[in-house]
């Protein structure tokens, strides 16, 4: 067991894949840069050669399409987009091509393509360097979507994504790169068997989040415990296809739900969580209205004080959770 950070764990995942599978390669912007994707791929080009760790022109669409083409021809490429915002130029290849090729061609075509989209926001970068659109991609049948919230998942879900025969969108978050954890050796998970995980036990309220939002929930739960509010925390991990049973079971017990998400509200991922719970948990079990905590309905501003109010913090989550646990039944009106 060695202590490893989230960013380093991603690199460990790549190192494992590139050393154990000759059909794996990675392609995208910044792979030959010392800083482009943080420390998550440092010197992989030196270690495995620039034929398997390929930096590219500023051509998101062609780069993603090229990854898909190689995936259709026996390889397991990982296409890197240093920002979700840039990846949007390749949406056709991800959503209308990769996610649909198996189906359109009868179901037996394997599409072992992994697209890695990095959420890279804050630091007064502004509206075009800020978007987290995981809800968009979780909306698309045929596309698996994973968001690791821990160093272990950052490594092992990357490996699972690459070994999966379906296209997978793997979304990591630069805000988590410093997160450290004791890690054993890499494991090869079957992504089809992976789903949400309870990462903390509690009986007063259910906190649900994916990626950085899951981390916020865990941290907030610590603070809440100090006030004797025991939160049940679910790390979603796999957003699509979504298996929400664990979440519904938890809310049945706690009677309270706070869905936390780093995306926007309307048609966002938190909406799906609330909807799943509303469809399956009897009202009699609910002690308070389900609640969403998401980004304000605005693009990201740059101005420091505004930006500080814009993004979610641990204390925002704790405060919202306190409200929910403090609220009585009439809170609906």
């Amino acid at each position: 067991m060695t202590v490893t950070g989230y960013g380093q764990a991603i690199r460990d995942g790549f190192e494992y894949l590139l050393s154990t599978r000759r059909e794996v390669f990675t392609i995208g912007q910044g792979l030959w840069s010392p800083w482009y994707v943080g420390n998550s791929m440092t010197n992989l080009d030196v270690q495995f050669g620039r034929d398997r760790v390929i930096d590219t022109p500023v051509s998101e669409l062609a780069t993603t399409g090229a990854g898909l083409g190689a995936a259709l021809c026996g390889y397991r490429p990982v296409v890197i987009h240093p920002r979700i915002d840039f990846m949007l130029l390749a949406v056709d290849q991800i959503v209308t091509q990769a996610a649909k090729w198996r189906y359109m061609f009868g179901g037996s075509v394997n599409v072992p393509l992994t697209v890695r989209g990095i959420i890279n926001r804050g630091g007064e970068q502004g509206a075009q360097h800020s978007q987290a659109l995981h809800a968009w991609f979780a909306h698309i049948p045929g596309l698996r979507v994973v968001m690791p919230a821990t160093a272990k998942d950052a490594r092992d879900l990357l490996i699972a994504a690459v070994l999966c025969d379906d296209p997978v969108l793997y979304i990591d978050d630069r805000w988590l790169y410093g997160l450290e954890e004791e890690l054993g050796p890499p494991v090869e998970l079957d992504l089809r068997r992976e789903g949400p995980k309870r990462v903390r036990e509690g009986s007063d309220i259910t906190l649900v989040g994916a990626g950085h939002a899951a981390w916020l929930c865990v941290e907030a739960a610590r603070h809440l415990a100090e006030d004797r509010i025991m939160a049940d925390v679910i790390d979603v991990r796999v957003l699509n296809p979504l298996d929400a049973r664990l979440i519904a079971d938890s809310v049945r017990r706690t009677g309270r739900l706070l869905a936390v998400d780093g995306g926007w509200t309307t048609c966002g991922f938190a909406a799906e969580i609330v909807a799943r719970v509303a469809e399956t948990v009897p009202p009699s079990a609910m002690k308070a209205p389900p609640r969403r905590l998401t980004l304000p309905d605005a693009p990201a501003p740059t101005s420091g004080p505004l930006e500080k109010n814009y993004y979610l913090s641990v204390s925002d989550v704790a405060a919202a959770a306190r409200q929910v646990t403090g609220s009585r039944g009439d809170a609906w009106e």
Partner: protein, 356 residues
């Protein structure tokens, strides 16, 4: 003929007689050797046309419902390029790809089954006319999002180079596809990494209802290959000999690492953008041109040449057509009798290993 030379001549429509409906009506000039293949090519083109005419009739009759884009009149491009391909090569097409599928050796019956939405179709009834695949013959896939398969073909070329067996990727697309940004990104990526991909532009002068003169400053698309410093060939797309020769030069070089190549084949579609009608009412002076283009018939011109050369008798074409029509009729009958996919197919084919 290499395009660079021509590109240097400034101004005016750049395709010259290639875009002139009144030209190139004469019989083809045949090479000394290769006569057996030329006869095969004629048979193949006749089969493609018979199959597409059948599909057109069945669309008109309401027995096929999926949108069908017919390549009648453009058969020589697919057949000429296929001449130099092997099953381990990776070919991609678009919305108008029946001819690509059949030229590579695809089964008529499985094509008919696909357009009918049958479980025996090439895509098991999930894709119809616009989504064809035939890995066994090297056809990876064809899809109707314009230009979408161009970067995918570049990735297949990357895979081919990694495989190191001298295989190549081929991307068939139309002149309209050259207006999509992804096409240009793909050419730059292929040129920068010197990938073995053959870009085949079937320039039929139209994108849907719009003549190329309303969409681009010049009528030749090889301009873009030149910009990306990709060697380009420009040929009469209704001359299977010229197409095969150019494709041969390009592909031979590519298999030994010369990087990407571009083939612009100028041709014309006899039917409307979609469906069986001739759409004479649509587009710039299509009515007059269509009649002339029909005289640049890739099938008739090859047959006449083979007759003149004494390789075929004057009645051969009619015989081939009759044979093709009966083969197609039989395939159609089988396909119509075939079963539709089971209801479970709706949700059962989304993910690998069943629904996870």
């Amino acid at each position: 003929m290499r395009a660079e030379a021509e590109l240097r001549t400034a101004g005016g429509p750049e395709l010259g007689t290639l875009a002139n409906a009144a030209s190139h009506h004469e019989a083809l000039t045949l090479p000394a050797q290769d006569r057996d293949w030329l006869v095969d090519a004629l048979r193949r083109m006749v089969l493609i046309r018979a199959a597409e005419e059948r599909i057109g009739d069945m669309v008109a009759a309401g027995r096929i419902r999926c949108p069908c884009h017919l390549a009648i009149g453009q058969e020589a491009v697919a057949v000429g390029v296929a001449r130099h391909l092997r099953p381990s090569d990776r070919t991609f097409g678009a919305h108008r790809s029946h001819a690509h599928y059949l030229a590579l050796g695809g089964s008529v019956r499985r094509l008919m089954a696909e357009v009918l939405g049958k479980d025996t179709g090439v895509s098991r009834g999930m894709g119809g006319s616009m989504h064809l695949t035939d890995p066994e013959h090297g056809l990876v896939g064809t899809v109707p999002i314009v230009a979408a398969t161009i970067p995918i073909a570049v990735g297949a070329a990357l895979a081919a180079r990694m495989d190191g067996r001298g295989d190549i990727a081929v991307s068939f697309f139309g002149d309209g596809a050259t207006e999509e940004g992804g096409f240009h990104e793909s050419m730059n990526m292929a040129a920068t990494h010197r990938l073995p991909v053959l870009f085949v532009c079937e320039n039929n002068l139209f994108s849907s209802h719009l003549h190329i003169s309303l969409r681009q400053p010049k009528d030749s698309t090889a301009r873009y290959a030149e910009a990306h410093r990709i060697p380009a060939w420009r040929v009469d797309g209704n001359d299977v000999v010229a197409v095969a020769e150019a494709a041969g030069e390009a592909i031979t070089a590519m298999r030994t690492g010369s990087g990407p190549a571009y083939l612009e084949a100028v041709t014309y579609r006899w039917r409307g953008h979609v469906g069986p009608r001739e759409d004479e009412d649509v587009g710039v002076k299509r009515k007059d041109d269509l009649q002339l283009w029909k005289r640049r018939d890739p099938v008739r011109r090859l047959h006449e040449a083979l007759v003149a050369a004494g390789d075929l008798d004057p009645g051969a074409l009619e015989r081939f057509e009759a044979e093709a029509r009966s083969e197609v009729a039989a395939a159609w009958a089988q396909a119509e009798a075939d079963p539709f996919p089971a209801p479970e197919a709706l949700l059962g084919r989304v993910y690998g290993g069943g629904r996870a």
